[in-house]
């Protein structure tokens, strides 16, 4: 008859395929209880503990806020803020007073009932003297905590913060039992759906279902979760290929293609807020020259970096740190692309003539940082910018190079909210402002956005801030790096995985189930 497939046939086929795939989709099956979930994760250390203030890598974040502990709020897989130990929250008009309603009938693993005192004690852990908590800046903004009733807490903030409910979803701010915190840190006692069975730091952790959990039917479907530390990327891939684990994190980009060939394995590849940067210290010439910074931005071939450094598992970024997992990413901003003519134009405008600058790189900053530097060197040359690559040792990179050398490679895992990200690394005078860059209008918008509760206005504010950052800022942000993880089809989820962190925001133990 004819070899052309008519549009109608094509549609029919597509519909049939769609119906089939829906019928066959395990995602629609109701969650099942039971089974053992085995994870092979990197990011573990012999120095790991149950102290959530010190959690900094996937292994303990997954075990901490992803299994044993709970926070007041959580960011769902869909990216919405929902209550975990809090059921509701309300702000005063200036976003300075926040009242949280707490869940009733919640028990800790040792039987203690959860209440307002636990929240207050857990928050206080972060501002103790000598406490080395990464969440210190968040909690330091709390001027006063009032226990309104056993299940209601009021936070009075020093400076208004519209994002406060988001901030308390941070994996550092887990809720510990008041009065038993030392014990809880030693043994891992929280309110989470799993309780600790065995814990060998940097080797293995085993938790089992906590039967008295307040939502035992809908959170934490597995009977047991076993988490093994596998530092070697090939060993992780071997482990999932030979069915010894059900999920792994940080799949080596080179092996993603091979893994995709396995029908039993799903590669989870999401673009989140994780981004790689090249911060310049503006206190050092020539980085104090905005036109020179613009020249550098136009001299960077972002797409090439995504293709070659990330092997395509990423997206080009636009010199600001706000990513797709943020609410107000300004995706309409004009994308800075590789344009040697424009770069040369700004070089001329800067009046610097021919410059040679050092770029300090090490694999500690991000995998492929050295190669990214070489690509940069290559594309900046035609614009009259000579980049000299300085290979730094991995050891001590964060103490001796970052924040010290005028221009270096760096990475950020990103933050759940715009304010949080900007306040961490872009606000004037904060310790991790890794460029020393200051901009009056940026700063005043930042302050305004903090107390603004109206969504539309917030969108405008953060849009403008991203624009300023992109145009005048002192950080080159060439790319967002995807989170690439893998799961076996022995475990299932509802088809939606979060993009805030690896492996469904490292909450897969609470959300997934045995297929």
């Amino acid at each position: 008859m004819t070899l052309n497939i008519s549009r109608r046939t094509a549609l029919k086929t597509a519909a049939a395929a769609g119906a089939l795939s829906v019928a066959g989709m395990p995602a629609l099956a109701a969650p099942k209880h039971g089974g053992t979930y085995r994870l092979g994760l990197t990011g573990g250390n012999t120095s790991d503990t149950w102290d959530s203030r010190t959690h900094s890598d996937a292994y303990m974040i997954n075990m901490g806020h992803g299994c044993v502990f709970e926070c007041l709020t959580e960011v769902s897989a869909e990216g919405e803020l929902i209550g975990e130990l809090a059921t509701g929250w309300e702000a005063s008009a200036d976003a300075k007073v926040w009242t949280f309603d707490l869940r009733k009938g919640v028990k800790f693993h040792n039987g203690k009932a959860f209440g307002a005192d636990d929240v207050i004690a857990s928050m206080n852990m972060h501002v103790e003297e000598d406490a080395s908590s990464a969440a210190k800046p968040i909690v330091a903004n709390v001027a006063e905590m009032k226990k309104l009733s056993d299940h209601q807490v009021q936070f009075v903030l020093k400076n208004g913060s519209a994002d406060f409910p988001y901030l308390v979803s941070d994996y550092h701010i887990c809720i510990f039992p008041a009065g038993q915190i030392a014990e809880a840190i030693a043994n891992g006692i929280g309110t989470g759906p799993y309780k600790v069975v065995a814990f060998d730091p940097g080797v293995r952790a085993m938790v089992s279902k906590f039967e008295d959990h307040w939502d035992a039917d809908n959170r934490g479907y597995f009977a047991e979760v076993e988490q093994i530390y596998i530092g070697d990327a090939s060993a992780r891939v071997n482990a999932i290929m030979t069915s010894q684990v059900d999920a792994i994190n940080r799949v080596e980009l080179k092996s993603v293609k091979l893994l995709r060939n396995f029908v039993n394995i799903d590669v989870i590849d999401v673009t989140g807020n994780q981004h790689y940067t090249f911060p310049m210290l503006v206190g050092n010439a020539p980085f104090d020259n905005p036109d020179f910074r613009r020249a550098l931005k136009w001299a960077c071939n972002r797409q090439e970096m995504v293709d070659k450094i990330l092997q395509g598992y990423g997206a080009v970024a636009n010199d600001h740190p706000i990513g797709p997992a943020n609410q107000y990413q300004a995706s309409d901003l004009p994308q800075t692309e590789y344009d040697p003519d424009k770069a040369a134009f700004y070089m001329k405008k800067s009046g610097l003539g021919n410059v040679t600058i050092d770029l300090s790189v090490a694999e500690a900053a991000f995998t492929g940082a050295g190669d990214a530097g070489a690509l940069y060197q290559n594309t900046a040359g035609p614009a009259g910018i000579n980049i000299n690559i300085v290979q730094e040792p991995n050891d001590g990179y964060w103490s001796n190079v970052w924040l010290r050398k005028p221009w270096c490679a760096c990475y950020w895992s990103g933050r759940a909210t715009e304010d949080w990200m900007f306040a961490t690394a872009y606000e004037s005078g904060v310790p991790w402002n890794d460029t020393g860059w200051e901009n009056e209008r940026f700063q005043s918008l930042l302050i305004e956005g903090r107390t603004e509760l109206k969504t539309d206005r917030r969108r405008e504010i953060y849009h403008d801030m991203q624009e300023i950052c992109s145009d005048d800022g002192a950080t080159i942000v060439p790319m967002y790096a995807n989170f690439v993880d893998a799961k076996s089809n022995r475990v299932a989820n509802n088809g939606q995985t979060g993009n805030l962190w690896q492996l469904d925001n490292l909450r897969s133990c609470k959300r997934w189930w045995t297929a």
Partner: protein
């Protein structure tokens, strides 16, 4: 026999001196690396205050030699100190005193047990295997068997360990799932389970160490085959097998035992790569982790254990080779 006791005493004294030297070198070497424990553990999240807080609590600001002597005196009394890794974080406000810190010994002991287990399993396979192949190769020297044995063991010793490991994983775990590629043994596993999980790393190590021992066995025996007393035995009409096993082998034992001791020491101290590939929780991984974290007490203890393993096994080798040789046993 007095002579033997003298040798042992001398060796032990030298061994203690060696351990001392090793501890000095390692302590200073780790301190020369950029960054310290406080910076290593805090990484990108370090702020001057938090770094200072950790340094204060661990006394990292004091001069290196003072810290070394503190460590040395404690170690001589059997106290290897507390591992840095859990110190800082076990503290919570004023309640620090109620929490027991993990000592270096507590952290090291189970790992060392695992390392010995892996070394034991590997040795149990490798030593009989290489002796057997060595004897057979000597017996059928220059034959096809001899050539094949030589070439294949040389190939396996020449390949990097991780390569041998991946080949074994491909053959025995992925294509033919006989063994598991993860060797994450832990407490509470049955012996059989542990043995099964340890098989692939043990086989990898076997392939790595067999060549050395096998070739030494072969060479030592062949060396003796030209001796008059072997000629005599042959003229008596003894079978070649009997000549080698009963007449040649006992006299070739000394060099063989030396090589075995060297390889045993290697099995204990040099298996970091194999541990990483198979996720085996032995001392090697702890050692690397501790160096990375500048966790000096654990690094020191690991080094001492490794150095001790070398010294002890070499001593055992010397003593057994003296015992196996009547000429050395009864010196004039």
């Amino acid at each position: 026999m007095n002579n033997l006791a003298m040798i042992i005493a001398k060796r032990l004294a030298l061994g203690v001196l060696t351990l001392f030297m090793v501890s000095v070198i390692i302590f200073y070497a780790v301190n020369m690396l950029p960054g310290d424990f406080a910076q290593a553990i805090l990484g990108q999240t370090a702020t001057p205050e938090t770094v200072q807080a950790i340094r204060d609590s661990l006394g990292l600001d004091r001069p290196v030699y003072l810290r070394y002597f503190d460590w040395l005196f404690a170690a001589m009394q059997g106290d290897f100190g507390i591992s840095f890794s859990q110190v800082l974080f076990a503290t919570y406000g004023g309640s620090a005193a109620t929490v027991n810190y993990e000592t270096v010994i507590e952290q090291l002991a189970p790992r060392f047990g695992n390392t010995l287990f892996l070394a034991g399993v590997s040795a149990a396979i490798a030593i009989p295997l290489s002796l057997m192949i060595g004897v057979l190769a000597a017996l059928y020297r220059e034959s096809i068997f001899d050539r094949v044995a030589n070439v294949s063991t040389l190939v396996s010793i020449s390949s990097p360990e991780f390569f041998v490991a991946y080949i074994l994983i491909l053959l025995l775990a992925v294509l033919n799932p006989v063994f598991t590629s993860l060797s994450n043994i832990h407490e509470g596993m049955s012996f059989a389970d542990k043995l099964g999980k340890t098989m692939l790393p043990a086989l990898t190590l076997t392939l790595v160490v067999t060549a050395h021992m096998m070739r030494m066995t072969r060479a030592a025996i062949i060396n003796l085959l030209a001796s008059p007393y072997i000629e005599m035995a042959r003229l008596k009409g003894l079978s070649p097998f009997r000549i080698i096993v009963v007449h040649a082998l006992p006299n070739a034992l000394a060099p063989i035992i030396n090589v075995i001791a060297l390889n045993l020491a290697y099995l204990i101290t040099g298996v970091v790569v194999v541990e990483v590939v198979f996720v085996y929780p032995g001392v090697g991984q702890l050692f690397v982790d501790s160096v990375k974290m500048r966790n000096i007490p654990v690094v020191q203890a690991c080094c001492l254990v490794f150095a001790f393993a070398y010294i002890f096994l070499n001593l055992v080798a010397d003593v057994t080779s003296i015992l196996s040789n009547p000429r050395l046993r009864h010196p004039k």
